[in-house]
């Protein structure tokens, strides 16, 4: 299910442009969307999910024009959506909440719905807590309920906005793996500012900045943007001022800084192989 976006613009009254003439093609499979806070990722996701109307431009998903009511409805029938600011009803249990969403998604057969809810509670490891009110759930548990509701109707298009926020490392890895497994014949659009989530799951990605597309390519392409730009510097003095410090670890003789910079940030700086995060920072520096 391809997503074709052309000239997509969204402006909010008094806030200026959130998306500025965006052109993007998202193929079937897993696709990452990176960008700083305020880059326009969530606005794009909300337009794709049919929650927001664009100011200008076109969006076609699987051939359906989402600017029309019929197009939006056709997309919503095959859509699983996990919003960034996910909420749940505190007065319902996880099982009841999923049953409610299942009904709204058109899973009318009671037995089918109950089976599907049970399967997904198992997938997100909430079976033991399924009949407890959501009021008592932790943030991570609520996030897992959100993941389960997104998968309820076996969606062909999955839009997930910051899905691993609030999850512990084990849950994060489990969910990333689940997304990769689901991606086969589906389109999974993963928006995040956690670069590692994309590095571990996506082959292709796009980077947004100030509502514009600043990169579209493979993870390797973006990683290569930092070739010969990643350095290791050990110093007991102040942190290097040239470039962007990625990390600082204790080492013999002071701290070992990992720095992304166009040239060596110190005379004794040693080159390092780049990661996707380095590539993302190099892109931001060039930007």
């Amino acid at each position: 299910m391809r997503i074709e976006i052309s000239g997509l613009t969204k402006s909010f009254k008094g806030k200026g442009l959130a998306l500025d003439g965006l052109d993007l093609l998202v193929p079937t499979g897993m696709f990452g969307l990176l960008g700083a806070n305020g880059a326009g990722k969530t606005t794009l996701m909300r337009i794709l999910a049919g929650l927001l109307r664009q100011t200008a431009g076109e969006v076609r998903i699987g051939g359906h024009d989402v600017t029309t009511r019929a197009g939006r409805l056709a997309v919503q029938r095959v859509l699983g959506y996990l919003p960034q600011d996910l909420g749940v009803y505190p007065d319902l249990s996880a099982r009841e909440f999923l049953d409610y969403i299942g009904l709204l998604k058109g899973i009318d057969d009671r037995a089918t719905r109950r089976r599907r809810v049970g399967e997904l509670l198992e997938v997100v490891a909430l079976t033991a807590d399924a009949d407890r009110r959501l009021r008592g759930y932790s943030g991570g548990m609520r996030r897992r309920v959100g993941i389960a509701q997104a998968l309820l109707a076996d969606p062909r298009l999955l839009i997930v906005d910051e899905p691993t926020a609030g999850l512990d490392p084990e849950e994060r890895i489990r969910f990333r793996t689940l997304l990769s497994q689901l991606a086969g014949e589906r389109t999974v659009l993963l928006s995040t500012h956690i670069v590692d989530d994309i590095a571990q799951t996506c082959r292709e990605l796009a980077v947004l900045a100030k509502g514009r597309l600043v990169f579209r390519g493979t993870v390797d392409d973006l990683t290569r943007r930092a070739d010969r730009r990643v350095w290791s510097v050990v110093t007991a003095g102040p942190a290097p001022t040239a470039g962007t410090v990625v990390s600082a670890l204790p080492a013999d003789g002071g701290l070992r800084y990992r720095v992304v910079a166009p040239g060596p940030p110190a005379p004794d700086a040693e080159p390092l192989p780049p990661t996707l995060e380095d590539g993302y920072l190099a892109l931001a520096q060039a930007g």
């Binding site: 999910a49 929650l51 505190p90 009841e96 009904l103 709204l104 959100g146």
Partner: protein, 266 residues
């Protein structure tokens, strides 16, 4: 619509605070009535219709204040809780969900009211040996109490899309007593009119209720009063018209909800 009805009903009826608030109000009403020996008198009143109608008037004048306040967050809370985005991307009809939410929340709000009302009716029927009271009570509930619940429910769901829910609650309590309990000759009011939610017209014309002493004109033009254009001659036809106007206003207010929501979400 049935899904929204079912779960909205479930969530509202599980609200412990709703039961506590209703319980406190009913207890106060009971204590006040007991002091005036009204309960004992009522239980032995030979006129079943007059008895169940007068109890309905007392309940319908006070308990809507409670459920009006409790329903005030039902629509805005979907956005506040962050659930709206999940609901809005489902292929379900927005109008159907709104109708289900409205009817489910109203039905849940009517449960404590029905328990109190039919609980009293059962006690009366058993004490006085007049089971016909159930039939009259059902009729009063359908024609007077249910339209009031639906009318109040529509405003309670929709107005907080325009103003904060706490402010709505304050204004609503003021409106309720101003628009229902004050006589038109005392000050300009919507009481005793077609749009009086306690049901002045149907109470008087369909159930013969004319106040506690039986000598008060509840409906119809009040000499010299403001808003008399909303007070046609009281007849059975205008009584049904009043029920229809209340329900039509509820539908009209509800139909504005999608546009009001879109104003804040898009």
């Amino acid at each position: 619509m049935t899904a929204a009805f079912r779960y909205e009903f479930l969530m509202q009826v599980r609200k412990r605070s709703m039961w506590i608030a209703n319980g406190v109000v009913v207890l106060l009403l009971g204590l006040l009535s007991a002091r005036g020996r009204e309960v004992g008198d009522l239980l032995h009143d030979p006129d079943a219709k007059a008895t169940v109608t007068s109890v309905a008037v007392a309940i319908n004048l006070i308990l809507p204040v409670v459920y009006g306040c409790f329903l005030a967050d039902r629509l805005v809370r979907d956005d506040k809780l962050g659930v709206a985005a999940i609901l809005d991307v489902t292929p379900s009809s927005g109008a159907g969900r709104l109708a289900g939410k409205y009817l489910g929340a109203c039905a849940a709000a009517a449960v404590p009211l029905a328990i109190v009302y039919f609980g009293f009716v059962a006690l009366y029927a058993a004490t006085s040996g007049r089971p016909v009271a159930f039939a009259w009570a059902a009729a009063v509930f359908a024609v007077v109490i249910a339209p009031a619940v639906l009318f109040v429910g529509a405003f309670a769901l929709v107005v907080p899309l325009l103003i904060p829910a706490p402010l709505f609650r304050v204004l609503f309590v003021g409106y309720w007593f101003w628009g229902n309990a004050i006589t038109p000759d005392a000050m300009p009011t919507l009481a005793s009119s077609l749009v009086t939610p306690v049901g002045s017209y149907p109470l008087q014309e369909l159930f013969g209720y004319r106040g506690p002493a039986g000598d008060t004109e509840l409906a119809g033009p009040a000499p010299g009063a403001v808003f008399n254009f909303l007070r046609p001659e009281a007849t059975p036809a205008t009584a049904w018209l009043s029920v229809g106007v209340l329900l039509a206003l509820a539908i009209l207010v509800l139909s504005a909800a999608p546009a009001l929501r879109a104003r804040t979400t898009r």
